[in-house]
Amino acid sequence: MNPAAPSVRTEPPRPASPAGRPGAAGRDRRARYRRTARLAFLLPAGLYVLFAFVVPVLYNLILSFEQTTPATIASLFAPWAGLSNYKVTLLNSITQSALIRTLSFTVLSLLFQFLIGFGLALLFSLRFPLNKLARSLVIVPWLLPFLVTGFIFRFLFQLEAGAINQILLDVHLIHAPIGYLLSPGWAYVTVLITNIWLGVPFFTVLLFSALQDVPPELKEAAMIDGASPWQRLVRVTLPVIRPVIEVTFVLGFVFTVKVFDIVISLTQGGPANSTQLIATWAYNLSFQQFDYGAGAALNTVLLIIALLVAPVYIRLNRDSLRQA
């Protein structure tokens, strides 16, 4: 329409209010209207949080204190069980080994994901041909659904006709094919390798963008002062990107501690429960043994472990914001 037209429309003359309302009441009404509007806009998000987070977590918590059987499933509440679900589940030897395994799995995953991810991030900070293409290829593991990755790796790690065995045999690194998914020790290593492979892009992308933000003046100054490349890395680059590293570790911890799909698609927790992690064992208790109470109890334990790092994350986030 006509751009020259005044964009502010003059309001029609307001009819004098019959009660001769003072202006204060109008302002009051406007404030109330604003508050209502604000609440209304919050409503969808609030409902989402309520149904997607609060209700399931609360229901899980209630379930973990109940004595559940198939007969109780048709009613919302089952007989109260107190702490017995927690006691029985945590005293179970498979649960205990799953807890320890999850811990070692998480620590080892994060360590290698960081080392490889940081190495790749440093590599991509250099100028070389096809850098951009290589960088986009690194993200590919992220694009695949975890279940698909699991099945692909299961195929690669097969004893008979598995690609990995075939390659290692051909280059004479091994003399007999290895049953990667068939012995407890190897199965754990295989799941670990798969998970590291999956987590590397996350570390690479975050650390790479952090490296881009390191002011070049700092590095140049260090270079002029005669610092070796190693010193520049340890004394300049690492301290500058430390906040990002910390946040990446915290997020990585939360992602790794609840790993589920990879184990299910690779080993289903076997052989002989040797790759059961907390999440897969909780699933097994709930949906294979139909012991919902025990599964819920273990889920609560997992939730508590994940929540332990939440305060750390919030503090780190605040610190890095303050620095920025």
């Binding site: 429309r9 029609p12 409902l47 198939p70 007969a71 499933i73 407890p184 052989p271 002989a272 043994q289």
Partner: protein, 434 residues
């Protein structure tokens, strides 16, 4: 451009609009929660809908149910059968969800070890007081697997079990007869092993399939699910462990499911013998493998010659959900009974590659398909898996498959693996099943 301004007079209306928008959101959320709650009943034009839930998403089972539902609709004008098929792994979760919401489908096809469990929710309709109910004419095992706390909750849609499949050419080349005893099985498996061919293959995966495959070995040897740390149980497991240890069976049995893994090993000529069941017939047919030409089937070998083979009874069952209108219940029951008619049973089971559940019907079927003979014979003495533990069978099964995997991986000896399993099983409550 027209600036979007809300005129003063309409401010009150705007607030209402906001409130209305909020209301719509709430209503949508509520609808989202309850959309699964409508189970389809009588509609205005006098038509009745009954719902049916199963896990036959493909192949024979899918064809069979579509055929029978259509036939039923033709015989009952004005009736619609609304069928839902979900993946095998999701069925029990879906059924338990429906049960917890008190909103069961009119008809549900459950795998037989799950019947007791779903019956325990109180959301299945017992058949006993329905008109024309009978248990005569069926295999005893087929009736037992449907019994929970003295009441009949289902009819099996068909039965199956496991036998020993063997590659005829390979046995002939080695000059061997199919094994009948464990010693023969172990010796033959060893002789047939020539890399990359393994003499024997079975399923030792971390799920129900491996327990189900070991059951005929230890049941025929006199062991039971209630007491697994016994010599008769241990020797059955030892047989499996030995075959893996001496290389007659691949260590990959820990990862090979019955179908398609075992079938593939067998048809690719990488396994000379395997434990499997009639549900793989379509796969064998597709490969051009014919009974008595490329392959043969014998009963699962027993420890000593002449012992009776006690195989586990497999197959799905037809169950009715509690609830629904009287009209829907009546129709669901007619649907169930219609499937028990000999001609329907013959057609449905032949499409699914199952055995009929009535000996009289089986005799007719065997005339056309000699490959079923072994399974038909085993069915006469087959045992349901839920007899001792009912709804708690999955826990017992898990204890056993964990022991199988521990022993085969060498994590623990056969005896200590079974002692651990016994420790778990002793803590599982026995529930009267059949």
């Amino acid at each position: 451009m027209r600036a979007f301004t809300v005129g003063k007079p309409s401010r009150r209306r705007a607030r209402w609009r906001l409130a209305a928008a909020g209301g719509v959101v709430l209503a949508l959320a509520a609808a989202g929660c309850s959309s699964s709650g409508s189970s389809g009943g009588e509609s205005s034009n006098g038509k009745t809908t009954i719902t049916e839930l199963d896990y036959f998403t493909s192949s024979g089972g899918n064809t069979a149910l579509n055929w029978y539902n259509k036939k039923f609709e033709q015989e009952h004008p004005g009736v619609t059968v609304k069928r839902t098929a979900v993946a095998f792994a999701n069925l029990i979760t879906k059924v338990l969800q429906d049960a917890s919401a008190g909103d069961m489908p009119s008809l549900v096809l459950l795998d037989n070890p799950n019947v007791a469990q779903v019956a325990a929710t109180g959301q299945l309709r017992a058949f006993n007081d329905l008109p024309g109910f009978t248990t005569s004419g069926y295999y005893p095992g087929a009736i037992k697997e449907c019994t929970y706390q003295g009441k009949q909750y289902c009819y099996p849609i068909g039965t199956n079990s496991v036998g020993l499949f063997y590659n005829k050419a390979m046995l002939k080349a080695a000059g061997l007869q199919p094994p009948a005893t464990w010693d023969e099985l172990a010796a033959d498996a060893k002789k047939l092993t020539k890399p990359p061919v393994y003499g024997m293959a079975f399923d030792a995966t971390a799920d129900e399939q491996s327990t189900w495959q070991l059951e005929p070995f230890f049941w025929s040897n006199g062991a039971s699910l209630t007491k697994v740390d016994t010599p008769s149980f241990a020797s059955a497991l030892q047989l499996w462990v030995n075959m893996v240890k001496d290389g007659s069976a691949s260590k990959s049995v820990l990862n090979w499911g019955q179908s398609p893994d075992l079938t593939q090993q067998f048809t690719q000529g990488r396994a000379a013998m395997m434990v499997n069941g009639p549900w793989i017939f379509p796969d064998l047919n597709a490969k051009g493998w014919k009974y008595n030409d490329q392959y043969g089937i014998v009963p699962i070998p027993t420890d000593k010659a002449g012992q009776t083979v006690i195989a586990p009874l497999g197959g799905e069952t037809v169950d009715m959900g509690a609830g629904g209108s009287t009209e829907q219940q009546k129709l669901a029951w007619e649907w169930v009974q219609g499937m028990q008619q000999p001609d329907v049973m013959t057609h449905v089971t032949s499409l699914m590659y199952y055995l009929p559940t009535k000996p009289a019907v089986t005799d007719q079927v065997l005339k056309g398909g000699p490959e079923y003979t072994v399974f038909a014979k085993e069915t006469q003495t087959a045992r349901p898996r839920t007899t001792e533990y009912g709804a708690n069978y999955p826990k017992v099964s898990q204890a056993i498959w964990t022991a199988i995997q521990s022993a085969i991986t060498g994590t623990s000896s056969v005896n200590s693996a079974l002692q651990t399993a016994q420790g778990t099983i002793s803590g599982v409550q026995q529930v009267s099943g059949g």
